[in-house]
């Protein structure tokens, strides 16, 4: 194989490549959903798959999310590995019963005899000017559902690696794709994709000593910017990209917080009942005596996602993160 230059690729392209490679490697992988075939998906993530693998492997389904996930369950029962696309976060809700009552439970129900290796791709989050119902952060629902893995990439390389891992997993994985990162680019060699990322490992994206920003998906980039800006204030922030919400990488996260003694959880999802509560609580349980200040949360407000023209006020940005860092009781230290 000739060496190919490392070229910038978008996250959407890396996802497409992951699907393609998974389908090529394993004939039991089937992609299904609304508009995933001829159109290639509304975000073009499934572009070209129907052409390359045929409509039986990449199928435009009728418009019914419970039907999509429910038939995927049956297909998985018969040995296939369905990769389901939910067109937008809020349009996964009609499939909620199938997800919670069957997808998450079938393995347990049958004492491991009937695992369901289903990947459920859900474009999620805001920041793209979407009208109502197109910008939900629904990860709290999935985290509260035992039996599911919940994974979300923040980099182009992870998009590839984690999606391959999700498809290879013998358990159902909710794969949350940050919409506003679809067109983010990175130098990533599509002809030498990274290895499959194991699910369940957080990554320290930026080492730092003052405090830990614990974040994932769409907010990782914001935290990186905040960490950059924080240098001017004399703070050296560590940024931890969780990557996998379930299982949760307590080890990496707690190691970081024990090192820094301070932490802020950052996510777009609403604060109340959102992922940050779990993260803050478990970090505090495990690192209490290392903490100089309570773990704070910077999150979306507790509202239905705002209309496009107001979303910038809702989304956690650099300033709000720095404000939280400032509240980490630095006086108490000196």
């Amino acid at each position: 194989m000739t060496t190919v230059a490392v070229k910038p690729a978008t996250m959407a392209q890396a996802l497409t490549r992951a699907l393609r490679d998974a389908m090529a490697a394993d004939p039991s992988v089937h992609v299904m959903g609304e508009d995933v075939g001829t159109l290639g998906g509304v975000f073009r993530v499934t572009d070209g798959l129907a052409k390359e693998f045929g409509e039986d492997r990449c199928t435009d389904t009728p418009l019914a999310e419970a039907g999509i996930l429910g038939t995927a369950v049956g297909m998985a029962m018969y040995g296939l590995r369905p990769v389901v696309e939910m067109q937008f976060d809020a349009f996964a809700y009609p499939a909620f019963e199938q997800l919670v009552s069957h997808v998450a439970r079938m393995r347990n129900r049958t004492r491991g005899r009937m695992p369901l290796p289903i990947t459920i791709r859900v474009p999620y989050g805001g920041g793209i000017g979407g009208v109502e119902h197109h910008s939900d952060s629904s990860e709290a629902f999935y985290m509260a559902t035992p039996g599911l893995h919940v994974v979300t990439p923040a980099t182009v390389a992870d998009a590839y690696g984690l999606l391959r891992a999700a498809i290879a997993s013998d358990d159902p994985v909710v794969f949350l794709e940050p919409k506003r990162l679809y067109w983010s680019k990175d130098t990533w060699n599509p002809d030498r994709p990274t290895d499959v990322e194991p699910i369940g490992r957080a990554a320290v994206r930026r080492p730092g000593r003052s405090a830990s920003l614990l974040t994932y998906g769409p907010s990782v980039q914001v935290c990186m910017e905040a960490a950059e800006a924080a240098r001017a204030e004399g703070w050296d922030l560590e940024v931890v990209d969780l990557r996998s919400l379930v299982p949760f990488d307590d080890e990496t996260v707690c190691a970081s917080v024990r090192r820094t003694g301070r932490a802020v959880v950052v996510h777009e999802s609403g604060s109340f009942g959102g992922p940050g509560g779990e993260i803050a609580a478990r970090v505090t349980e495990r690192c209490f005596h290392h903490l100089e200040a309570p773990v704070l949360r910077v999150a979306g407000f507790d509202l239905p996602y705002p209309p496009p023209m107001l979303e910038r006020h809702h989304l956690p940005g650099v300033d709000r993160i720095l404000d939280a860092v400032a509240r980490l009781q630095w006086e108490a230290e000196g």
Binding site: E34, P62, G67, G129, P307, M309, H314
Partner: protein, 378 residues
């Protein structure tokens, strides 16, 4: 009695619970979509009504082109055009009385406007300054519903409530061909039939759900054939024939109002434009198909009928066009002004009273905004 003694005692009988129920025959749709324009039936149509429909169609088409233009100018986040479907949109609005309710789907801004809602307020959702821009109670128009088919049970519930209160109010709910695949479609129609609620369901079968053609959506002889499975009549109509759609809907509304229960109407039409301005329809359909439908244009169909019968002169046509242009100019002008936004509104309507938690968050945002005003934050 032993089994031997029973010998010969058995007389065949249908299972006890089996009683001849509703006669299915009248619930089945005709084999072909009902048409008025260009048929005998046209002669019976009220010329005044046809002219009203015509003016509204012209206006509606112009509304679609104007709104699409506004997306190009960045004045609308997105616009799902109903070009080609104006007959359905307009007839739906005109088939209702003032006291009735309209339940639109996300594509039906035009029906909302035809019902009397201010065109700018109707576009709030798609401009993005708020979700629903109009007061649903002012013209009795429910919010444009983005989650497909979810508005159908709302329409049933509202119609049922009106009936319980003794009001002779009818609800008309719009849904697409794709939306008929959702569970909510099924549940809504079933509730409507069991409750005999005064509701009319209009399916605009425009051939596509984004890129997915009808053949991948259903294997039914027609979508109207779903009606018999709920015990309500199913009607099939040429969705580009405004007179036919109006007549079928008006009949259904009358039936509902007088206690006859719900009706399912399938209007066969076509989405001439792409799904939205952001969609590229050439990825999934050819020009020839679009052209065939352009030749069956709802405005032209009605225009030919009216002019053919001497009911519309060039002056009237021009008047309709002028009216449409004036509406478009007004829309353009008002949409080109930036909407006034107050970020604090984010907290105003989540609950009747903000929770303590929201009050905290509101204070945070207020402080941020004040800091911003005082000349830059950090």
């Amino acid at each position: 009695m032993t089994v031997m003694e029973q010998r010969g005692a058995y007389k065949p009988a249908p299972p006890p619970a089996w009683q001849p129920r509703t006669d299915p025959e009248p619930l089945l749709p005709d084999a072909e979509p009902y048409r008025v324009l260009g048929t005998e039936a046209a002669a019976k149509a009220d010329p005044e009504l046809l002219r009203r429909l015509y003016a509204q169609l012209v206006r509606g088409r112009r509304y679609n082109t104007q709104a699409t233009a506004l997306t190009k100018q960045g004045r609308l986040a997105v616009y799902p055009s109903s070009t080609g479907q104006e007959a359905c949109e307009v007839a739906a609005a005109l088939a209702l009385e003032d006291r009735d309710w309209l339940f639109p789907s996300y594509r039906d801004t035009l029906a909302v406007v035809a019902r009397g809602v201010d065109p700018v307020e109707a576009l709030t959702l798609l401009r993005g300054d708020w979700h629903t821009g109009y007061d649903p109670y002012e013209h009795r128009v429910a919010p444009l519903s983005t989650p497909l088919a979810t508005q159908l049970p709302h329409a049933v519930g509202l119609a049922h409530a009106a009936r319980l209160k003794g009001d002779d109010v009818v609800a008309l709910a719009l849904v697409g061909d794709g939306g008929t695949s959702e569970g909510d479609f099924h549940e809504a129609l079933n509730f409507a039939a069991v409750w005999q609620a005064p509701v009319v369901f209009l399916v605009q079968n425009n051939g596509f759900a984004i890129s997915v053609p009808l053949a991948k959506q259903t294997a039914a002889p027609s979508l109207a054939h779903k009606a018999v499975g709920y015990g309500m009549p199913g009607r099939l109509v040429d969705g580009n024939d405004a007179a036919a759609v109006h007549e079928v809907l008006s009949d259904a509304v009358r039936r509902a109002r007088t206690g006859g229960g719900p009706t399912l109407v399938e209007a066969v039409t076509y989405r001439i434009d792409a799904h939205t301005n952001a969609d590229d329809a050439t990825r999934y359909r050819g020009d020839a198909e679009v052209q065939a439908w352009r030749d069956h244009d709802p405005i032209q169909l009605l225009e030919r009928e009216l002019t053919g019968r001497g009911l519309l002169d060039e002056a009237a046509v021009q008047a309709a066009r002028d009216d449409a242009e004036a509406m478009a100019a007004d829309l353009r002008e008002r949409m080109n002004r930036d909407p006034e936004l107050d970020p604090m509104d984010l907290f105003a309507h989540v609950y009747a009273e903000p929770t303590p938690q929201l009050r905290e968050q509101r204070a945070l945002l207020r402080a941020e905004l004040e800091a911003e005003q005082e000349g830059g934050h950090r």
